[in-house]
């Protein structure tokens, strides 16, 4: 049976990384869950692109950061912070699609 990300993570968040990029962080409860999640290869550029309805080229980086058992995904903002059509200046409410991940 696949596990929900909600049982494995203590933090799932999004934020601007400057006005042109959005960065998503998943912090895992412990090293074991972090390692299992990483081994399962759940997060790929294509998967994130599909979740957020963006072209794969817009998913810029997927980095596993061991010191905090964390996964960081950085993507191009669909529009820069504050440009016409903006919905979230700080980029702090763009994490919800990640909450449906299973591993």
């Amino acid at each position: 049976m696949r596990r929900s990300i909600l049982t494995a993570a203590t933090v799932v968040r999004s934020k601007n990384s400057g006005p042109y990029e959005l960065t998503l962080d998943i912090l895992f409860k412990d090293r074991a869950r972090f390692e299992l999640f990483r081994r399962r290869g759940v997060v790929t550029r294509r998967r994130i692109a599909a979740l957020y309805r963006r072209p794969a080229a817009d998913i810029l980086k997927i980095v596993y950061f061991e010191p905090s058992n964390a996964l960081k995904i950085t993507m191009r903002r669909p529009i820069p912070s504050g440009d016409a059509g903006e919905t979230d200046i700080y980029g702090a409410q763009q994490h919800a699609p990640l909450l449906g991940l299973t591993y």
Binding site: Y20, Y52, R53, R54, V63, F65, P78, S81, G82, Y90
Partner: protein
């Protein structure tokens, strides 16, 4: 230079000057005998408006309250006080705004001190010279700068590194008020001058600039304390309710960054690939292995914005299930109708609907395409080249949507619940980011600075 044996202690007052801190935390921080009191005062996070309009996103009285504690403690105890990105965006009007608050506080508290005011505004002609030489490099996802965009841009600032702050402190200034500054530079300038390792000093600054946000439970309105040593630094919370943990500290290293291992800044980058975080007793964390790697040329980040018009909005909602079912064609119909009328009336203006309950939060990134709620919030937004044009477009969009006839409509008295009278609110100028590029700097300490003696005592005579 060999690293000093003594520790260098830093009190970071708050995450952003004006966000506040408990007095007890600040007092406890002072009891730990800091060599420096600092606060970062800004960010691009609140969006392009504040830089463009020359206004602070923090409240004046809140900034004054924080400054009062920092200045009185710093001047009376002989501890340097450094403020970075004064006024929120760090352009001249922001720095001058913050300086006025410092002077007012000094007068009220009878404080006399030497202060450096460092400006970070970047002359357009200078940017243009570099642009013509191909030396203006866009950051990730940013379009290349053109001369036309440069012409339209206002309040261009360069993010200074430690050098101008070091220079001011070396000149004996007790208070440094810096324009746009790399956040960690506020905390790292003095210890780097004293011979501490720049990698450790900057990494400690990187964490301290957000103060207690990096502790657990996190808070943007509390102090943090750092002890810089020869080969490590230690973070601790002056508030007994919080502590630093390995995870809280390492997690903060991720915060608002694209890549947690490589953090670029003025003149180089922080390389954290060999970094370790170790928990110590008492809610403290020790960090080792952070390295600063300089680049061949010294590059600084430029930030600038251009005006995109004026905005007027109206907040409204609908509770009608048929309207909610038809929301997409209804709004498309209203938009087309409004566009035609504006064109006929020769009013330049563009309307947009923010539909909460559909995709108001995520816009194009929203994967959920079905509307399930029993009500929708609709924010009508109009942007035009003048405030009057924006007002006209918003008013027209509101009245058109209010009385728009759609297929199956049975609620014929009005389509919207409007919570306010007046219904339309002027939002003023609209700005957008136009410059977010790197530029080489021949003299990293060459930011224009003024040294002034603030005589608080005499002004109150």
């Amino acid at each position: 230079m060999t690293a000093p044996k003594k520790e260098f202690r830093v009190l970071s007052a708050t995450a952003i000057l004006g966000y506040g801190f408990p007095e007890a935390s600040f007092r406890e921080g002072l009891r730990r005998r800091p060599h420096l009191i600092g606060a970062d005062a800004g960010s691009t996070d609140p969006g392009p408006y504040y830089l463009g309009a020359g206004k602070s996103f923090t409240d004046r009285s809140a900034v004054k309250r924080d400054l009062r504690f920092m200045l009185t403690a710093g001047i009376r105890r002989g501890i340097p006080v450094v403020i970075g990105t004064a006024g929120g965006s760090g352009a001249r009007p922001h720095v001058d705004w913050c300086e006025a608050i410092v002077r007012e506080t000094a007068a009220e508290e009878k404080l006399t001190f030497k202060m450096a005011v460092i400006y970070s505004d970047m002359d357009k002609a200078r940017v243009r010279r570099h642009l013509r030489k191909g030396e203006i490099v866009p950051l990730s996802c940013v379009p290349p700068l053109t001369e036309a965009v440069l012409d339209e841009s206002v309040n261009i600032v360069a993010q200074m590194g430690v050098e101008p702050i070091r220079k001011a402190l070396a000149a004996g200034c007790q208070v440094v008020l810096a324009g746009r500054a790399y956040d960690p530079a506020v905390f790292a300038a003095l210890p780097i001058t004293l011979g501490y390792d720049p990698g450790l000093a900057l990494h400690m600054g990187k964490i301290l600039e957000c103060a207690a946000i990096a502790a657990t439970p996190g808070s943007g309105a509390d102090c943090a304390f750092g002890r810089l040593r020869g080969d490590s630094f230690v973070l601790e919370s002056p508030n007994p309710k919080r502590r630093f943990t390995r995870v809280s500290t390492a997690a903060h290293t991720l915060y608002e960054k694209s890549d947690p291992y490589h953090l670029p800044g003025p003149g180089g980058e922080l390389d954290l690939t060999g970094c370790s975080f170790t928990e110590l007793p008492g809610g403290r964390v020790e960090v080792r292995g952070s390295r600063h790697v300089g680049t061949d040329r010294y590059w600084v980040k430029l930030e600038g914005v251009r005006r995109a018009g004026f905005r007027t909005i109206a907040v409204s909602g609908t509770r009608d299930p048929i309207m909610i079912r038809e929301i997409d064609p209804v709004l498309a119909g209203v938009e087309a109708q409004v566009r035609d009328i504006l064109r006929a009336e020769r009013i330049e203006g563009r309307i947009r609907f923010h539909v909460y309950g559909r995709d108001g939060v995520m816009g194009a990134l929203e994967p959920v395409k079905t509307v399930r709620g029993h009500e929708l919030g609709i924010v009508i937004e109009a942007v035009g080249p003048t405030q009057a044009a924006a007002d006209s477009a918003c008013s027209l969009a509101r009245s058109t949507l209010l009385h728009y006839g759609y297929p199956g409509r049975i609620s014929t008295a009005g389509n919207l619940a409007l919570p306010f009278s007046p219904s339309d609110a002027r939002m003023g100028e609209v700005y957008e980011f136009s410059v977010y590029h790197l530029m080489p700097l021949a003299r990293p300490d060459g930011f224009p600075a003024r040294t002034v003696t603030v005589r608080g005592g005499k002004e109150r005579k």
